[in-house]
């Protein structure tokens, strides 16, 4: 029985924590920086023709030009809106279906077999069929992205709810918690780690689906930029687009991780 757990962090601890974080960031940057170095070396030594592998400086220059002209912001903005809307719809519906499956045995029995079979078909496999129904407008893109975000959300939400220990459910029974009370106090908080795994998978899938659908049917967006620059053989533009896609995805994942840490303060050891 110690009060140590409540000691507020002292300034010394803060400095230590900062150093630990910096060290962590440095380690994470090590591999990407090495790759850039190898890339720079390869183009400087002329290991590959310049048309195949442009120098990092070209790509950087191109990135700056596209940023300055507003072209990059326009493509990235279009893509971001598509992902945001598609992800919100897909993950939102996925959360609801996941909760329904997690809470209700009959719902699971009715839905699970079809769901599992449909989930086996890759997102890109759906695009031709969906094109027939929806054409190649915005609706197609949103639906494809939503579909990609939907499945991981359902699976992880349902699993999170079903994995809540019986011992906790007995507590809820003994305390006579209503369905709503136990959803709020037990089911959702208990399933939250798994739900967050679902959200992060969903976002990654949504982002990948965006690129796939823009490759096939779009005249703007980062995916389009990728295809168009490849067809034009502007490899510096293509590499710049790839960098931006990777970077945006990374930032979104980091934001989710931060939100997760905030919502689950109880898991952090004091």
């Amino acid at each position: 029985m110690s009060l140590l757990a409540y000691a507020p962090p002292r300034s010394g601890d803060f400095t230590v924590a900062l150093l630990v974080r910096l060290r962590h960031a440095a380690i994470g940057l090590l591999v990407p920086l090495t790759l850039v170095l190898v890339w720079a070396l390869a183009s400087a030594r002329g290991w590959l023709p310049e048309q195949v592998l442009p120098a990092p400086s070209y790509v950087w220059q191109n990135l700056r030009d596209m940023a300055a002209s507003g072209e990059l912001a326009q493509h990235a903005g279009i893509s971001a809106i598509r992902v945001a809307v598609g992800f919100a719809v897909g993950a939102g519906l996925g959360l609801l279906l996941g909760i329904a499956i997690g809470l209700s045995r009959p719902v699971e029995d009715y839905v699970r077999p079809l769901f599992t079979a449909v989930a086996q078909v890759p997102t890109i496999g759906w695009i031709p069929l969906l094109m027939l129904f929806l054409g190649i407008g915005e609706t197609l893109k949103i639906v494809v992205i939503a579909k990609a975000a939907f499945f991981p959300m359902v699976v992880n939400t349902a699993a999170g709810i079903q994995n809540i220990p019986l011992s906790y459910r007995e507590v809820a029974a003994v305390l006579r918690l209503t369905r709503w009370q136990s959803l709020r106090r037990l089911v959702l908080p208990g399933a939250l780690p798994s739900i967050f795994t679902g959200v992060r998978y969903s976002l990654t899938k949504a982002w990948t689906a965006l690129v796939a659908v823009e490759l096939l049917a779009s005249a703007e967006g980062l995916g389009y930029l990728l295809v168009w620059s490849r067809q034009m053989f502007w490899l510096d533009t293509m590499l710049a687009a790839m960098l931006v896609i990777g970077l945006v995805g990374y930032v979104m994942d980091a934001m989710l991780a931060a939100a997760e840490a905030r919502l689950q303060a109880w898991r952090i050891d004091a």
Binding site: Y168, Q181, L192, W266
Partner: protein
């Protein structure tokens, strides 16, 4: 204060294991008067926890009748608090919020709830830890919080399933004393299941001794020692020997290997008759 009268008549329970029927409890009869502290002691597998779960309403598929204040038990009720062997606090809620779970359906005002929660946190000696998460508590502190959660709704009956089994000896002794005081002060009925004979004798007004295969009551030992009790009182030591003898005669699985000469004879009367005799 709610009443806390319990009646068990002919309770029998069978589990199905690998297609075979396994009798867990058979012919359990027990009357518990309001305010009484009953301890149930027996070796592992004698069905004592199952019996407690039946009283709690977590097991409803059984033969015989379990009655609380004249009403047949058909499921959990807020009139019966249950403390499990593990604290089972929700790890994402603070101590305060965990205790408050017991009042979700109490129909109290916000202020009344807050007052009841802080009163019961004080009762188990956790004042100052209201905003701590279960991870930050020791095993003993977590179990205190669980006891507060079981008591906060002021149930007429408090059921405890080996609540101190996982704690170190020092903490266990301390919490036994506090539990004794709390139950006396609140004037509630308590049923505590344990495999610790010393704990059973120290806490119980009556000690119910059970034997396994099938789980049944072999003997009820009345402990008419005034409270607060001293652990070393001669009367308690005497009763302890009686309980140990009953455990021995009940068959396998005596929990503790010590034994002196046991003066009391095993009773062969129906349990209800023993209950009426009271402090014999």
């Amino acid at each position: 204060m709610a009443n806390g009268e319990l009646g068990l008549q002919g309770i029998a329970k069978t589990f199905r294991v690998d297609g075979r029927l396994l009798p867990a409890l058979d012919g359990i009869d027990l009357q518990v008067t309001p305010g009484e502290f009953i301890t149930i002691v027996g070796a592992s597998g004698c069905g004592k926890s199952t019996l407690l779960r039946i009283i709690a309403g977590l097991e409803t598929d059984h033969a015989g009748a379990a009655v609380h204040d004249g009403k047949t038990i058909r499921g959990p009720s807020l009139a019966r608090g249950l403390v499990f062997q593990e604290p089972r606090l929700f790890p994402w809620l603070t101590v305060e919020a965990n205790v408050a779970l017991g009042l979700e359906n109490a129909g109290l005002s916000r202020d009344a709830k807050r007052a009841a929660v802080s009163e019961h946190i004080a009762l188990v000696g956790l004042t100052g830890f209201e905003n701590a998460y279960p991870r930050q508590l020791s095993g003993g502190m977590a179990q205190r919080a669980a006891i507060a959660r079981g008591l906060v709704n002021r149930p007429g009956v408090l059921l405890l399933d080996e609540p101190f089994g996982a704690l170190d000896a020092f903490t266990r002794t301390h919490l036994q004393e506090e539990l004794q005081g709390i139950v006396a002060r609140e004037g509630i009925t308590a049923v505590l299941v344990t495999h610790d004979v010393d704990e059973a004798v120290y806490l119980g007004d009556r000690v119910v001794v059970m034997a396994p295969r099938p789980g049944r009551i072999t003997r009820i030992v009345a402990v008419d020692e005034p409270r607060p009790r001293s652990r070393t009182a001669a009367a308690l030591l005497h009763k302890r020997e009686a309980v140990l003898a009953a455990l021995d005669s009940g068959g396998r699985g005596r929990p503790e290997p010590r034994r002196l000469d046991a003066p009391d004879e095993p009773l062969r009367q129906p349990a209800a008759a023993i209950a009426l005799q009271g402090a014999a």
